[in-house]
Symmetry: C2
Amino acid sequence: MTQPVEFYFDFASPYGYFASLEVDELVAAFGREVAWKPIMIGSAFKASGNLPLVSQPMKGEYSRHDWERVARLMGAPYRLPDPFPVPALPPSRAYWWLEGRDKDLARSYARAVYLAYFAENMDISSPEVACALGVPLGIDPDEMAAAIQSPQWKGRLKEETEAAIAKGVFGSPFFLVDGEGFWGADRLWMVGAWLEKGGW
Amino acid sequence: MTQPVEFYFDFASPYGYFASLEVDELVAAFGREVAWKPIMIGSAFKASGNLPLVSQPMKGEYSRHDWERVARLMGAPYRLPDPFPVPALPPSRAYWWLEGRDKDLARSYARAVYLAYFAENMDISSPEVACALGVPLGIDPDEMAAAIQSPQWKGRLKEETEAAIAKGVFGSPFFLVDGEGFWGADRLWMVGAWLEKGGW
């Protein structure tokens, strides 16, 4: 049995958001599944010496412009949130808590988090917002609030982030297809090519 | 009359090399021409705070691997040169000297330089190599050697690099289509989409 394609992302990453809108359909076309893996990309930046795009001269300005035009081309709802970026700890912990119970529910929650941040400018670094976003999905906000504060799910997010870095993940989004890494929403076409050809 | 699509690159840039193999055909399909513009991307890195990819932890290792697989997928001759990267001052100055005389000849010379570095592992930071590469194209090596050392063409390369940075160019390759910037060989498809739609 084949392993799922791993989709690593940070909830505060615009390119991660754009990739989240396309990755499942692209991968399903090749009969494979996707494992969504939110991580704290800031930790990977520390390991790789990277900085958030908006903190970089020239590249920051380019990226702001690029996010707008990518969204227009995709027809995706988007506005640059303010503040941006934020540490998305609460929904990331909540995701891993949910994922252990119901993978589909966790994915629906992840989509809601991305939309809240990049379409609705909600502060996803707030535990209250993270919990509110689960309510329409039938998730008890008190249970989620407890999970967000629990050492177990704090630890799980940290472990997932460290495991990703150990596998070479240094940006968001990052895809692993049978161990082969692809960095960037720009490279989804290559993920598809790799799946189609079985590598080259 | 429309302006040519500007193609900025550094002769020591693998992604610039890959883009050089595709950009003319892609742009010609939309009835437009390409202006090739070699620059010293190290100067842009100083302005933008970037580092060469191979100097970056994790991203450097990823890039080395990516160049190999991109080349295989394209069927392009490629090996990572040693040493890499090098400051490609001699062929870059020679290009601008040639470009003032014969744009087609300058482009043929640029292709020869890229192949020499990325297929044949020749040291393109050497003035002797830069001059030798012009000989099969009928370019007098003594004239080229003089141009490489002249303040005029040293100055021209510097001006072109500074003008590029002033336009927001921070990486190689970088494309400008009627003022709209696109960074990376990955984004050639978007250059095509922009030309096709006239922007969006």
